[in-house]
């Protein structure tokens, strides 16, 4: 992994794809902000949705992320690494804040999880086309992710659903590379086991 991640961070340092847009944003250019939002909303929203498993909360959090970025963009230049990584860090910090804030509510919600499982087991039999299978897998992964601890969950989401390099995840989480690798490894194994318990067979 070392050669790959090293090349990734060098690229980010030398050719930052968002450098010009960020400069324009700092100058107060409205269309630059628009470009930034159009380019990154999907990524931020998906991270929030995968982590919280609630579209409503994900929308609110995405808005919160961009507002935070709007207010703190000036501090980005001092941080090293790519803009996308910085943005992911901001998102991740808000997600962790949100997770701590809503911990008590989730204890009462966990009972509700049992209901949709029964319904979705039948859906592939009725409509086994490609799009439906993908949607079903997506929701199965989504439910299984919620069983993981937040540490393992965020590591797996960043690596396998957001496609970040190990070095980037290291920057986002602020933990050593060994810890990142170990969390991703344990997260993947645990996720596979949870899916097996849910009755999802490997294909």
């Amino acid at each position: 992994m070392r050669p790959g991640s090293g090349a990734g961070s060098e690229d980010a340092a030398e050719v930052e794809p968002d450098a010009q847009v960020v400069q324009d944003c700092l100058r107060g250019d409205g269309s630059a902000w628009e470009e930034l939002v159009r380019k990154h909303t999907r990524r931020v929203y998906n991270l929030c949705w995968r982590f919280t498993s609630s579209r409503h909360e994900a929308e609110d959090l995405t808005q919160e992320v961009f507002l935070r970025i709007y207010k703190t963009l000036g501090s980005y230049r001092s941080a090293h690494g790519g803009f996308a990584t910085w943005m992911t860090s901001v998102t991740r910090n808000l997600l962790i804040d949100h997770y701590r804030r809503t911990r008590r509510d989730r204890l009462t919600d966990s009972l509700d999880d049992a209901m949709p499982k029964l319904e979705e087991k039948h859906s592939p039999v009725r409509r086994p086309d490609q799009a439906t299978l993908a949607a079903e897998l997506s929701s199965q992964v989504q439910r299984a992710l919620q069983k993981l601890s937040p540490d393992l969950r965020e590591a797996v989401i960043l690596r396998d659903l957001q496609g970040l390099e190990y070095a980037e995840i290291q920057d986002v989480l602020g933990v050593p590379e060994g810890t990142v690798k170990s969390r991703i490894n344990r997260g993947r194994i645990e996720l596979a086991r949870v899916l097996e318990q849910m009755g999802v067979r490997p294909e």
Binding site: V37, T41, N46, F66, A192
Partner: protein, 220 residues
Amino acid sequence: MTWNCEQIETRLSDYADRLLPADERKYFEAHAASCARCRALVGQVTSLLSRMHGLEPEAVPTGLERRILEQMLGAGKKQAGWVAWLGWLQPVMTQRVAYGAVTVLVTAAVLSQAFGVDVRQVELRDLHPANLYRATTRKANLMYARGAKFVTDLRVVYEIQSRLRPEPEQPAPTEQKAAPGQTQGPEKQEPRQQNRADESFGNYSLLAFTAGLAPERSIR
């Protein structure tokens, strides 16, 4: 060299990401071939990863980008100037609101007249609470003085009337009593009229005195 189950679990991600050197890969696969439990686990994880990497990210909900931009650039417009600042008023600008505004203005004009604030020459210091209070007190005192003068005038008129009227009423019965005789009528009436004129003159001067003083005293 052979690996145990624990080593397989630890290096599973490296294997799946194809990051194991060739020799370690050989040890890994050798153990997996001999251990059914590890083989199943490796199969599950690699299958999960290949399917997860194929998942398309969710589409952005409709309107989310617009809301984000409104939220951000809405905050930016505040710095842009008065035009942006007044922009929020546009939906409020209806006919009904305009009528309401006119009514409020008229009321304010009437009230300012009542409180002695001249709208044509209004100055900032006129709006000072102390000045407003002073003007209002002055107006109230003037109004009270006018009212007091009016009441006093009425009283004067009433007193004059009451002094003048009872006289013909009182002698009326005596005249009626005397009427049947017709003997003392003209001779006795003359001195009585003389007396009444003297009396009236005295009353007038007294009343004129009080009427002249009373309003002045009230105004001051």
